[in-house]
């Protein structure tokens, strides 16, 4: 059975200002959904609400039509935040075990990290750690992965590897990705959404991004 993640009826307001109000996001198993938008438009907030780490005044998050009170419960959804994921006092090996990722999987995808799996995140450079965190999230047993700026700090060759990994991982799960490297997002996405003024709309071509004022 194909899994489907849907998010709608999301309402977030700061006082009198409505921040997110007209949202319908759908992600099917087997696809990568790109989420684009200007700085501060609410992309990260939307992902956090779907994951359950941020409270919304109103929301409806469903997997296969079944309502979820919080996405992170029952390991249905994993989330890679903008900031560092793995706490400084936990070794990579423990993080792998807690996220149910086998050593051989990490060794196959990111062999450079193998000698340092017993170390804490401090051993890794920013880009290495970001890629390793991406590997752990994508290789976990979650049905859906939410990736908030996964390409931050990655060199071009690592971005290519990250995209290849996402393409491989999407066979078994759905992926929602947002990043300001829009070329990479459009390259890897099967479907694109654009978020502005609290509205989420599906876009079909890069020309629309120009018309919407996202790029020149």
């Amino acid at each position: 059975m194909m899994n489907v993640l849907e998010a709608d009826s999301i309402m977030v307001d700061y006082g009198v200002v409505s921040f997110l109000s007209d949202i319908y996001l759908r992600c099917d198993q087997g696809e990568i959904v790109g989420l684009l938008g200007r700085n501060g438009c609410g992309k990260s907030t939307l992902l956090q609400i779907i994951f359950g780490s941020r409270i919304a005044a109103q929301k409806s998050i469903r997997i296969n039509g079944e309502y979820l009170s919080a996405g992170y419960k029952n390991s249905n959804i994993k989330f890679l935040p903008q900031d560092t994921l793995i706490p400084a006092n936990i070794t990579i090996r423990d993080a792998m075990r807690l996220l149910s990722v086998e050593r051989k999987v990490v060794a196959a995808v990111f062999p450079e990290s193998v000698p340092f799996l017993e170390q804490t995140p401090a051993r890794f450079s920013g880009g290495e750690l970001r890629f390793l965190e991406l590997v752990l999230i994508l290789c976990s047993d979650a049905k859906f992965c939410l990736l908030d700026e996964p390409f931050t700090g990655l060199s071009p060759v690592m971005i290519e590897r990250a995209i290849a990994l996402m393409q491989h991982a999407k066979k078994e799960k759905g992926i929602v990705v947002t990043d300001h490297r829009y070329r990479d997002v459009t390259q890897c996405s099967d479907r694109l959404y654009y978020l502005s003024s609290g509205r989420l709309r599906q876009i079909d071509s890069e020309e629309q991004l120009v018309n919407l004022g996202y790029k020149v």
Partner: protein
């Protein structure tokens, strides 16, 4: 076992407070001192949790990814720390009475 990981955040300072409380109790094993130490422990724990909330709050996303929610994150730290404190003080009192 995964609930032990949040406690790592406060393990060192919390253990130090518990150790000091045990040493004090060893020297003055009276009821008034026990009440005083309990209050000290609670205040220290509140301080540590406040620090975690404001300066280590981002790591909660990791614990959510392994199925531990916000309440579970804080509750596990409080439970484990208080359990260790109670066990330590009971052991100290037990040994002291034996002596």
């Amino acid at each position: 076992m995964k609930y032990l990981y949040p406690y790592r955040n406060i393990a060192l300072p919390a253990s130090a407070v518990t150790t000091m409380a045990c040493l004090t109790l060893w020297q003055h094993p009276t009821l008034s001192v026990i009440f005083y130490l309990i209050w000290c422990k609670v205040i220290a724990l509140i301080g540590l949790l406040t620090y975690i909330h404001f300066f280590r709050g981002a790591q909660i996303i990791f614990f959510m990814n392994i199925g531990i929610g916000r309440n579970g994150f804080y509750f596990s730290m409080v439970c484990i720390d208080l359990l260790l404190f109670i066990v330590s003080t009971v052991v100290v009192l037990f040994i002291k009475q034996g002596v």
